[in-house]
């Protein structure tokens, strides 16, 4: 039997495998292609914006105020506005979002109401941002009488972020194994102590990553800010919570819609600044995750 097989060469079922391997190689190539298409698109987009922007990207652009003359127009109020917005949004969205996640994951009893809340949070994460803008306009700008202010914009963005922060935090909380919680209980800790000293320190990298990624998304949001009435021409820096404001995406949107070619160059420069900022934030998220994970494993 064995000698016969040796002389007869590989049998039919062995040669069949060649076809399988071919399909496999084809599939891995297709996957690679699928990976490259978005990467190349992103690179082309960024490269195109960068090429247009280079002549305008200087210190004066970053520290200048808007102007009727494209060559002297700067982005400072938008940059500062975006920074304030992010800070205020994070201050509102993080405690609320993480708190809600802790409640849902650790305290809530699994009943109909909890399920309903969970489904709604997932739905809210998918609601278009302009709807949040309309809600913010009605609730914060008019209802609370905050006007078209920085704080109204931040509150609207915080609403937009909440579902994302809640879901990311819940995912992170779920990664803490039951065995560690039990270890805490067995040492005579109550539930809050276990959450505070065992669960939260362990899932901090995950929660932080989720928060930073959400915030990075929020700085690119334009629609809700336009809806609540962020200004497009601001020649001053916001000096209080109720001060009018503008933000990077708004400024870019404004410049793009101008007829003069010079403003389009400004828009490209603004895009590069915005993308760099987002890249910086995402980088920070990755850095924090790696650093904290090294500590926990």
């Amino acid at each position: 039997m064995t000698s016969a097989a040796q002389t007869a060469g590989p049998s039919a079922d062995l040669t069949m495998k060649e076809k399988g391997a071919l399909v496999e190689r084809l599939f891995s190539l297709l996957s690679l292609l699928a990976l490259f298409i978005p990467l190349v698109l992103l690179a082309v987009l960024f490269g195109d914006a960068l090429r247009d922007a280079l002549p305008r990207l200087d210190w004066n652009f970053l520290t200048g105020y808007p102007s009727r003359r494209p060559a002297s127009a700067g982005i400072l109020p938008a940059l500062v506005g975006s920074a304030y917005l992010m800070l205020l949004t994070a201050l509102m969205a993080i405690p609320l979002g993480v708190g809600a996640a802790i409640y849902l994951e650790e305290y809530a009893r699994p009943n109909r109401l909890t399920q309903l809340i969970e489904i709604n949070i997932s739905n809210l994460a998918g609601v278009p941002s302009i709807i949040y803008g309309l809600l913010g306009l009605e609730l914060f700008v008019r209802g609370f009488g905050l006007g078209r202010s920085l704080i109204a914009g931040a509150a609207t963005l915080a609403l937009l972020l909440l579902p994302m922060v809640i879901m990311a935090s819940r995912e992170a909380l779920r990664t803490v194994p039951l065995s560690l919680r039990e270890a805490g209980y067995a040492l005579g800790a109550d539930q809050w102590e276990v959450i505070r000293r065992v669960v939260l320190p362990m899932c901090l990298p995950g929660i932080l990553t989720g928060i930073i990624l959400s915030v990075a998304r929020a700085i690119g949001e334009t629609a809700p800010l336009i809806t609540i009435g962020a200004l497009t021409y601001v020649a001053f820096l916001p000096d209080s919570l109720k001060s009018p404001f503008t933000a990077l995406p708004i400024q870019i949107f404004n410049w793009v819609s101008r007829p003069q070619a010079g403003f389009h160059v400004n828009a490209s420069a603004g895009i590069v600044v915005l993308l760099a900022l987002m890249l910086l934030l995402n980088g920070l998220a990755i850095f924090l995750r790696i650093r904290l994970q090294r500590r926990t494993s």
Partner: protein, 270 residues
């Protein structure tokens, strides 16, 4: 059958048998997971400063039983307990008893070593105090005593600030024992503490159990019958949520009263 009795037990007899003062007693203890019953009414007595082993096939309720002794069973969602457990004559299921306070007197070591990964070795030992809101500082003396009791001090005394998860599996389990001992409990519950360890690490844990019984009441769950025979004074055999037999370990292994016990320990099923 004599092969069961080896090493630790025959080496020396520091105290002539257990004191036999009752430390824990369960009465008609029943436990459920949702609708599934796991314990069908267990009544047994656990003597002070002795090792009581709980043996039985998988799913017989032995883990559930020890988890009822410090009210850890109710931590699982949907889990429920009926009946009484007396600790020094006090019913721990009395509604006035705070399970958090109880667990400081009845410590527990789990099957899988579970040191807190975000804490150093030192912090792990002090975790029980910290979790209760006590600030022990660096807790030098306490850390050394607990780690010495857990037979780990010599191996880790120079690396106390390294992460607890940097240790080997057996060391991690002894760290968990030290963490439980740092609270100076009266009872130590051990749920298959050596089942995930290699034979050498297992032997260390067994020797440790033998030494600890001078100061603590120990209840140990094991699926390893030789282990039960080697380290325990009393053995209880569980099956399908009921207590089949309990007695002095020697009697249970040499002259089991029940046919089922005999079948199990001679390996006819299990």
């Amino acid at each position: 059958m004599n092969a069961f009795f080896s090493t630790a037990r025959n080496r020396e007899q520091p105290d002539a048998g257990p004191s036999l003062r009752e430390k824990l007693r369960s009465e008609e203890l029943k436990a459920w997971f949702g609708d599934a019953i796991a314990l069908k009414g267990i009544s047994l007595s656990i003597p002070e400063k002795a090792v009581t082993a709980i043996i039985g096939p998988s799913g017989c309720g032995k883990s559930t039983f020890v988890r009822c002794l410090n009210r850890m069973h109710e931590v699982v969602p949907g889990a429920r307990v009926e009946g009484r457990v007396h600790l020094d004559g006090t019913d721990i299921y009395d509604p006035r008893v705070n399970p958090v306070r109880l667990r400081r007197r009845v410590g527990m070591v789990f099957q899988k070593a579970n040191p807190f990964p975000t804490m150093s070795i030192r912090e792990n030992v002090l975790a029980g105090l910290r979790l209760q809101g006590i600030r022990p500082g660096r807790g030098g003396e306490l850390v050394e005593r607990a780690l010495t009791q857990a037979a780990l001090w010599n191996e880790v005394k120079d690396v106390l600030d390294r992460s607890g998860s940097s240790l080997s599996g057996g060391q991690q389990q002894r760290l968990c024992i030290a963490r439980a001992l740092a609270l100076e409990p009266e009872v130590l519950l051990m749920d298959e503490p050596a089942s995930a360890l290699d034979p050498i690490a297992t032997q260390k844990i067994e020797e440790l159990v033998y030494e600890l019984k001078a100061s603590f009441t120990i209840v140990i769950v094991t699926h390893n019958m030789q282990q039960a025979a080697r380290i325990s004074d009393r053995t209880a055999f569980f099956m399908l949520g009921t207590l089949i037999e309990i007695g002095d370990t020697k009697d249970v292994f040499m002259n089991p009263k029940e046919k089922m016990t005999e079948d199990y320990i001679t390996g006819r099923f299990g």
